[in-house]
């Protein structure tokens, strides 16, 4: 199997789908995934020192074995000064990156644990239809009620997306050439509809949810090499568009109001609550179709997980 580091994702701007455009040079410093991992802010070593010093019952600045709970007494093995105690400096050294004995919590051999990043499900695609219809699905409505509700939800989302698109196109009209705008609209349409996105089943029957990465539309705007102020305005317009296609409070209230004759008060309350949530998905559980050119090498294949690249013949076909 051919394995290529995930860095290959950085070639996304070079996708063949965007080959008709002027392509910006590869910038490794700029993340180009269509979704980004959510990361937290971890605490620093000072909190470990502060925490351990709470065990210093006699306030002598040293933690001795009898002051620690039994489960923590092994920490004394890290006493470097030989005084059978830990002081602030020793604790700080232990709490600083990669303490020598802290490698205990390792993953069992052969198991690839959670790892990877997470992203909001509604960031995977530009469209939020799947999220909205999923929220409706989770209500477990009787089939007729579900169909009646869908008959309201789908046109509502179509209107929401159409209105947002109209505003975006209008804002972009004065900022780029008709040709550029035409190309941008084509790619936008593809991203909104998931057109051409393959669904693949593994040999064991499990489904792989492929995401057509396509070009990052913001980077596509930058690649048009517009005047700086036009680029800035176009990017702002695109950011506004992304906000508008996610039902805001007023949109949610309008949609829930339209469903008044179809859903009960409780169902509408649950639907509204579900729309407000942004469920997470595992970023490395996603897969994407990548195609493009790096130097003279034509790349076309599938990225699945964090570090596995397969050419099309290596994955089951739909």
């Amino acid at each position: 199997m051919r394995r290529v580091p995930l860095l290959l994702l950085a070639i996304l701007p070079l996708t063949t789908a965007a080959s008709a455009q002027t392509v910006a040079p590869f910038d490794p410093a700029r993340p180009t995934m269509v979704f980004s991992s959510i990361t937290g802010v971890a605490a620093g070593p000072e909190i470990v020192v502060a925490r351990l010093m709470t065990f210093d019952r006699d306030n002598d600045g040293r933690i001795v074995k009898s002051e620690l709970p039994e489960r923590m007494q092994n920490l004394l093995a890290a006493d470097t000064s030989g005084d059978q105690a830990l002081d602030r400096a020793e604790i700080l050294a232990l709490a600083s990156p990669a303490p020598a004995f802290a490698a205990a919590a390792t993953t069992a051999p052969g198991f690839r644990g959670g790892g990877g990043g997470y992203t909001f499900g509604d960031q995977v695609s530009l469209s939020t239809r799947a999220h909205v219809e999923g929220a409706l699905d989770d209500l477990r409505l009787p089939p007729v009620t579900h169909q009646n509700a869908l008959a309201i939800v789908r046109p509502f989302m179509t209107r929401l997306e159409a209105d947002a698109t109209t505003v975006l196109v209008k804002e972009l009209e004065g900022l780029m050439s008709p040709g550029q705008l035409g190309s941008f609209k084509v790619m936008l349409e593809r991203r909104m509809t998931g057109q051409g996105t393959p669904a693949v089943f593994r040999t064991n029957g499990t489904k792989v949810n492929f995401v057509r990465f396509g070009p990052d539309l913001a980077q596509m705007i930058e690649a048009f090499a517009l005047p700086v102020d036009h680029t800035k305005a176009a990017l702002a317009a695109f950011d506004g568009f992304k906000e508008r296609i996610r039902p805001a409070a007023a949109d949610r209230a309008a949609l829930v109001g339209e469903l008044k004759d179809v859903l009960s008060d409780e169902e509408r309350e649950n639907f509204d609550a579900a729309l407000q949530r942004r469920p997470l998905v595992k970023a490395n559980g996603l897969a994407g179709v990548v195609s493009g050119v790096v130097g003279r090498d034509v790349i076309h294949g599938v990225v699945e997980g964090p570090a596995v690249f397969r050419t099309p013949r290596q994955v089951a076909q739909p």
Partner: protein
Amino acid sequence: MKAWLFTGVAIWVVSLAAVPAAERTFTLPDTPYQYAYLDLPAHFREAAAEKFDNTPADNPITDAGATLGRVLFYDRRLSANDTVSCGSCHVQSHAFVDPDRFSKGFKGGLTDRHAMNLVNLRYHPRARFFWDERGGNLEAMVLLPVENRLEMGQDLLKLPGILAAEPRYAPLFRQAFGDPEITNDRIARALAQFLRSMVSAQAKYDEGRLQVRSSHDDFPNFTVEENRGKALFLRNCGLCHLPDQDAHFVMTEPVNTGLDDDTVRPDGGVGDITLKPQDVGRFKSPALRNVEVTAPYMHDGRFATLEAVIDHYSSGGKNHPNKDVRVQPLHFTSSEKAALIAFLKTLTDAKFLSDPKFSDPFK
């Protein structure tokens, strides 16, 4: 009348507890219970689920080994003063948790954490145990409570000799290990085998899962509310609690769920063991199977009910710098909470909770 009856029962209970451990005798079936072979449902046998199994190659479950482990698990002689056994705090009808928030040690002192459940320990892929994951695989972990000065207080140097004084142990060790020698290593291996044999796989959820192609399909044996709860669980909780397969409701890594925003005073969990700043406030999560009967919840038993647990996750927890990014405010409505709880109750495996092969043989 009622008062007399209560007093009588109380005296009987006290007299039972007062029976010296050496005088208690155990009864085992003529034909050993089957521990080694498990008739697991299909979703346990899928490759992604099988990867969770932490059984080491050098200590597979045998019927004789787990039988010995069962006797040891319930034998009070494993404590320094013959008053408590592992089973004293890990109660079968409560999925082997202690229904009390904190457990009483052999001298009556209280622990500062809630006893974890012992359900499906075999399927914890990191093979690290205790709330702070300080225990290595089960073989390394099982004797820590035995020698803990608050919990059972036993001197491990003396333990083989204490057990050797019970003549019925020699044949059990012979059947399990080939000769009657009693060692701490063998005690640990037998206990680990018994713990690994405690597999809960016959809940309503499992029956439903067998009837559909995907866990996302509605289960025919579920009520509408249970299916709604399942959908909510899979969308909002499954990423952590049902990772990449459909059998094991277990997290693959310890997590800070925002229980506290104070980084200094509360229990530091994994961080107290590794001294890594990013581990402060991270705790191992017990498997959710049988969660209906494992109250109180969390490492310190702070939540008495499932409703309180769901309220915590619904709020998104407190702002600890190590809080996991997956813990986001979910704002569940009251009917969504009820649906989630209805689903969680489908994970209760009544057969497991009363299976005689996991019961106290000293009764």
